[in-house]
């Protein structure tokens, strides 16, 4: 049994309207997604804007209601009412995309980082302060920072505060929703490095959501590619980057700009080729509604959404 197992997860948002605000239909934000993550690994979730990455992450942690499907965390079903207990909550935490809005601007660092501690543990003021300072040190901020306000920190530092808060309860799984996409390149590097460090230190598991393939390639062991609420491909880093099977994955990979100006021409050529292939074989990869098919195994680690043969 895996560490985190997501089975056929569906999250639909109702479209309201009509005379009495009835539900007219659904936005299928996540439409039958299954994957599993091993402890201590980083699992990347990639896809275009609106493909349902965030929704998946939020559904796992319980911020979105699940329409159907299961989320098993260490064997416990998070979707059943009973297990929405505090202890499971403690074990899963989240890092948010925007370091500016994810910290309450009116709270001091102490209060921000201590919030989860206060919710789950009864510590004296003194102990609490000590814990927070330890945490801050762990994320590389000076312990004196506890009395400052978020706006007194740079984006990278804020993201660290967010991490400190997330690890305060010693979680096992952290869902990181585009943790660096709001940051400048140089700062981005800082946060990525640090996330890797802390993962080793605390034996954390990451669900790493991003649309930047470069970053994902740098961070992740396994990767899932989402398209319109469904998976189109899943595999190890090598599977995805060296042997992309689905045309959509290929497009994504081809679209990454190459940092070496010498490859410009080839890159453009490659992109054009993929584009041509995409146009020609679109119907082989997508059903009549333009959605991906179910996943088929290509290798042990590599799954691709292809129409069932025969």
């Amino acid at each position: 049994m895996g560490f985190l197992e997501v089975e056929d997860l569906k999250v639909y948002f109702p479209i309201k309207g009509g005379l009495f605000n009835r539900t007219l239909g659904n936005i299928k934000a996540v439409d039958g997604v299954s994957f599993s993550i091993e402890q201590g690994k980083t699992y990347g979730l990639v896809g275009e804007s609106g493909s349902g990455k965030t929704t998946t992450g939020r559904a796992i942690i319980g911020l979105n209601d699940i329409t159907s499907g299961k989320v098993l965390f260490e064997g416990k079903d998070l979707t059943s009412k009973k297990s929405k207990t505090a202890s499971v909550r403690k074990d899963i935490q989240m890092i948010f995309q925007d370091p500016y809005s994810s910290l309450n601007p009116k709270k001091r660092v102490l209060d921000i980082v201590a919030e989860p501690i206060r919710n789950f543990e009864k510590l004296s003021k003194q102990e609490e302060k000590k814990r927070v300072q330890e945490l801050l040190e762990m994320v590389g901020l000076s312990p004196e920072s506890i009395l400052k306000y978020p706006h007194e920190f740079s984006g990278g530092q804020r993201q660290r505060i967010g991490v400190a808060r997330a690890i305060a309860l010693k979680p096992k799984l952290i869902i990181a929703d585009e943790p660096v996409s709001a940051l400048d390149v140089s700062v981005q590097a800082q946060v990525l490095n640090f996330m890797q460090d802390i993962q080793k230190e605390l034996n954390l598991t990451y669900l790493f959501i991003s649309h930047d393939l470069g970053v994902v390639k740098h961070m992740c062991d396994e990767i899932g590619i989402m398209y319109k609420g469904r998976y189109v491909e899943q595999g190890t880093k090598q599977d995805i980057f060296e042997n992309p099977q689905h045309i959509y994955t290929k497009r994504l990979v081809a679209a990454i700009p190459d940092i070496d100006p010498r490859h410009r021409a080839e890159q453009k050529q490659f992109r054009e080729d993929v584009q041509r292939e995409y146009e020609q074989s679109y119907n082989d990869y997508f059903d009549s509604e333009g959605l991906a098919y179910g996943l088929q195994s290509v290798s042990d680690t590599h799954l691709v959404a292809l129409p069932e043969k025969g």
Partner: protein, 302 residues
């Protein structure tokens, strides 16, 4: 666009603390001469009327003196007397105090109701919001005057407090709406979402996370409301649903001006009250506008 206003130079971070909300407000007010003067005026007036009315004997002031009716300003009566021979100056002081008390009370009560209502409605959204908003809409169409008349008739003691209550019943909706729409935005922000994942209860998130972030909005709105509320009391007095004359307010003094004789020949009865209302409202408003600028980083002058 994260402006550099908020990003601090790292090297100086350890030493200087960036200004807190109150400090920003203060700075903005000091920078704006008009607002500063207004604030000083308000503080002085408030201190003066509350202070002096401790010494003044209200009973004495509203005692009718048959032989001093309609005296123009003199040494004995600085601002003359009204048609009951009562000292206008004394009434002006007590009236200002009462009007300010009403203004402040109403502002506070509408503030509390509006904020709590707006918070709950906005935070929970969905059906709760829907129902609460319908209730609010209903309050908007209530016939204010009629309710006031019923109220005046059935409430035996009509005091500053009860009067404020009835005004409150009709004035909390604006702020509730404002807070609601702000909360609707605010609760979607990551920090509120984050709190949820950290195991904080809804109540806790509402009051300890979201609320502090809308305080500046609340303060600004309440300041501006204060000005409007002071004005409203005088309107009710004009229609005859204000205070009895034994509880003078700026409104009651002002409503004497509806008597054409007073309006034309006995300026000392109503002009000081009119001027004072005007000044109070302007001053409160100036301060409010300065606070508004302070709350809105884009408009900040400094």
């Amino acid at each position: 666009m994260e402006t550099t206003d908020v990003k601090m130079d790292e090297t100086t971070q350890g030493v200087t603390k960036s200004p807190s909300g109150a400090r920003i407000f203060w700075r903005e007010i000091v920078r704006d001469k008009l607002a500063l003067i207004s604030l000083i005026f308000l503080v002085l007036i408030t201190a003066f009327v509350y202070g002096i009315s401790l010494i003044l004997d209200q009973k004495e002031i509203v005692t009718v003196d048959l032989f001093a009716i309609h005296q123009p300003p003199s040494e004995e009566f600085w601002l003359g007397t009204d048609y009951g021979g009562r000292d206008i100056f004394g009434q002006l002081i007590i009236g200002t105090r009462n009007s300010l008390s009403i203004g402040i009370l109403v502002t506070l009560m509408t503030g509390v109701i509006g904020v709590v209502y707006g918070l709950i409605s906005g935070y929970f959204g969905g059906h709760v919001d829907n129902i609460m908003m319908r209730i609010l809409d209903f309050f908007l169409i209530l016939p204010f005057l009629m309710v006031v008349i019923v109220f005046v008739a059935i409430v035996p003691k009509y005091s500053v407090f009860t009067f404020s209550l009835i005004m409150t019943a009709f004035l909390w909706m604006g702020i509730a709406r404002l807070i609601r729409s702000k909360v609707l935005q605010e609760k979607e922000l990551d920090y509120a979402q984050a709190s949820k994942t950290l195991g904080s209860s809804n109540i806790k998130i509402m009051f300890t996370q979201v609320l502090p972030n809308i305080t500046s909005l609340i303060i600004v709105t309440m300041t501006l409301n204060l000005a409007a509320n002071i004005g409203l009391e005088s309107g009710l007095s004009f229609l005859g649903f204000g205070f009895p004359e034994s509880t003078p307010s700026l409104g009651t003094l002002l409503s004497y001006a509806t008597n054409p004789q007073t309006l034309e020949y006995r300026w000392w009865i109503w002009v000081p009250a009119a001027v004072l209302i005007l000044l109070l409202m302007l001053a409160v408003r100036n301060v409010g506008e300065a606070l508004k600028r302070a709350a809105d980083a884009r408009q900040r002058r400094g």
